[in-house]
Subunit: 419 residues, 2 copies
């Protein structure tokens, strides 16, 4: 197989299908999503069998247990995929939303219409459920999709693709609206991210190294997610119980997620009061603490001295950096300097300080008195998410249907010309 | 001067200033815009003198007359710059706009806040008025700016920069909020578009070659404007007078602008009726017509045979391609295939066809019964425009204040944690 020619053909087919999808009505798209869900549930055994092939190969290749875990399909995860597709069907269709219409002095009436981006490429690791999620979100938002999953999930993805394409056909939509790349050749990724004529945006999902490389080499726009170095700042005006609960939840609810807190900032006037109680709770859960000098003065030598590297690190592990700051300004400065502009929260009961925090912290999600763990597509009501963007242009934070669309200008006239 | 170090310093200063600007209140930003306008009007003679230096050098270097024209500052253009800044001051401040708040089942209240992008780099040709426009738009939208104008306008731009920075200081804002690059070394552009740490987006303005090169080499996101290959489609349900007026205005109001019609599409059942009258008007204005076979069958041999290249060409000249199409479908297909997704219009009195055209034509601006010439920032009420985007992600079409911002998620809680 000539990968260049193959990907060019995939791209051309996607572009053609995208035209049909852009004008597909909501009923057809929802029917396709329901039919995909039905096919996935019906073929549950076949999907699990295909997945078994991947799992056997992965075990032989000595894949790490965490990766095997993500690769594994069970009856429950298969039902989860089907449910996810049905949830997407239940979401409002963003395509064709019109707003902002008003008359201009020339007499034209100007507004905006929400439209699909066109063709979306998704590059992801060996997580078969992403195949169904991404296909569903792109379809509902009227985009054709080219999916390139991790080669370890090849058989699983092909099996899911068959269900997806069956659903498309059942609804009278072109099967090429969702194409799963049928080669594990890595060159396919290089082609996909440079197909400027046929691909409108690429969303890479995976480790930072992969995403950095794709961003560097891509010639099509990229919606990307790099670090999730999230902060909770406990102000001296915080309600102690809220502070305790949020700081504990943000770190220990799950360690490996991008919206997990990695550095805790505490106002100097509150640190002696709250830190001992918090430290005890963290240690009980087996969290290693790394602190600034003032933190260590309060909590003792069990706290590892933190370096500047700690402020900039996304641990994704039971490790927490703690810094005592002298005021809100120092907290905001720390977050904007060392953070990754992902998700940051303040705990405070002070109107003015919460307002400043919301405005001045330059992150995709900024929170008051809530755990950073809320920053995801489900909690935000987007349905599944295609990813969490740490970019500033286009979409920020959890990207759902709206992030997969853009708005065009609509001008309604009665024969107006410019003079 | 070490250009790499210099641009790195400029970037660092811009990033620092952007933090101040992001939290600057509307009153300060408007005061700065007014003070800039005042300084520019007061220094009108000095600006014109600085411009004279550039003009003398440009004439010596044999610059083309059209470029000299764009480079020239007069009392009127200087007043125009000042007026433009005052108009920007009068626009609503987009920063801090909040909308979409609603409660989620978890009890958090979720919405969005509009925020500056951060640092915006503008690369443009020798048009000194862009210096004031771009500085004003970026300031109002809360962004720090790095301006890199054409080297032929070097003295003019530096003189304008002094007025701009005086205005910033008068309002208590950092002068580094608007930096005009103080070197004509071309390497500065290469540095600017790769300063990923300090620059959030780059907007190149200029010829297609420049923009393609910058897009190719940039490592920061680019908001770009490539072709403006615009269409008017006259349906057989068109009102003949509107069709005539719009088709004439879209082509002949100005030839060199990106929203000028380059190809006219006419429904086969209407062509014999409208084309002779239109052709006469075009020829009277000295417009060369290039047509498909059916066009030539109606209008005769004075129409040059059109090739596929004509369908894809942005003439920017008194040349018009004409194609007779069999129906709306063929018109939409032609536009989506050969157009540049900039601005396209239908002339029709049919409800269903106009609705289909609006939805299915994949362009930044889609119009019914109005001249394509309306697609610009002033006519759309954006104030000055920073450019017209032909991209699909982030901003489409005329980019004003809103296109220079993004939205972050705001979460308001009362101590919510995830369970």
């Amino acid at each position: 197989m000539n990968v260049k020619e193959y990907m060019e053909r995939v791209g051309r087919q996607a572009r053609k299908a995208s035209r049909v999808l852009a004008r597909a009505d909501t009923r057809s798209k929802n029917a396709a999503l329901q039919a995909m869900a039905d096919a996935i549930e019906r073929d549950s055994d076949a999907l699990i069998a295909a997945n078994m092939e991947d799992l056997n190969a992965a075990r032989k290749a000595g894949l790490a247990e965490a990766l095997i875990d993500r690769l594994t399909l069970t009856g429950k995860t298969v039902r989860g995929m089907a449910d996810g597709l049905r949830q997407i069907a239940a979401l409002p269709d963003p395509v064709g939303e019109m707003d902002g219409f008003s008359y201009r002095p020339s007499g034209i009436q100007l507004g905006k219409m929400r439209v699909p981006l066109g063709v979306v490429g998704i590059i992801y690791e060996a997580r078969p459920n992403v195949t169904a999620d991404a296909a569903g979100l792109c379809l509902k938002s009227g985009n054709a999709t080219i999916l390139r999953g991790g080669s370890e999930a090849f058989h699983s993805n092909q099996a899911i693709a068959r269900c997806v394409q069956e659903g498309l056909r059942a609804a009278g939509l072109p099967a090429e609206a969702v194409q799963v790349v049928e080669t594990t050749d890595r060159a396919a990724v290089g082609e996909l991210i440079t197909l400027t004529e046929h691909v409108d945006v690429v969303v890479p999902r995976g480790g930072k190294g992969l995403i950095e490389r794709i961003s560097r080499e891509a010639r099509v726009p990229v919606i990307k997610h790099l670090d999730g170095n999230c902060h909770v700042y406990i102000d001296d005006t915080a309600n102690p119980d809220k502070a305790f609960d949020i700081a504990l939840n943000a770190k220990t609810h799950r360690y490996g997620t991008c919206n997990t807190m990695e550095t805790l900032l505490v106002h100097a006037a509150f640190a002696e009061f709250i830190l001992p109680r918090l430290a005890e709770a963290y240690w009980e859960k087996g969290v290693e603490l790394r602190g600034c000098e003032r933190t260590r003065a309060i909590l003792g030598d069990r706290v590892v001295p933190a370096t500047e590297d700690d402020w900039a690190t996304e641990y994704l592990a039971p490790i927490l950096a703690i810094r005592v700051v002298k005021d809100l300004d120092e907290a905001i400065e720390h977050i904007n300097q060392f953070g990754s502009h992902h998700t940051d929260a303040i705990v405070s009961e002070d109107y003015g300080r919460t307002r400043r925090f919301l405005r001045e912290v330059d992150s995709a999600s900024v929170m008051v008195n809530a755990s950073t763990r809320f920053a995801d597509g489900f909690e935000y009501g987007l349905g599944a998410e295609i990813g969490i963007s740490t970019d500033k242009i286009h979409a920020r934070g959890p990207v759902g249907l709206e992030g997969l669309t853009s708005q065009k200008w609509i001008v309604l006239g009665d024969g107006q010309i410019r003079s």
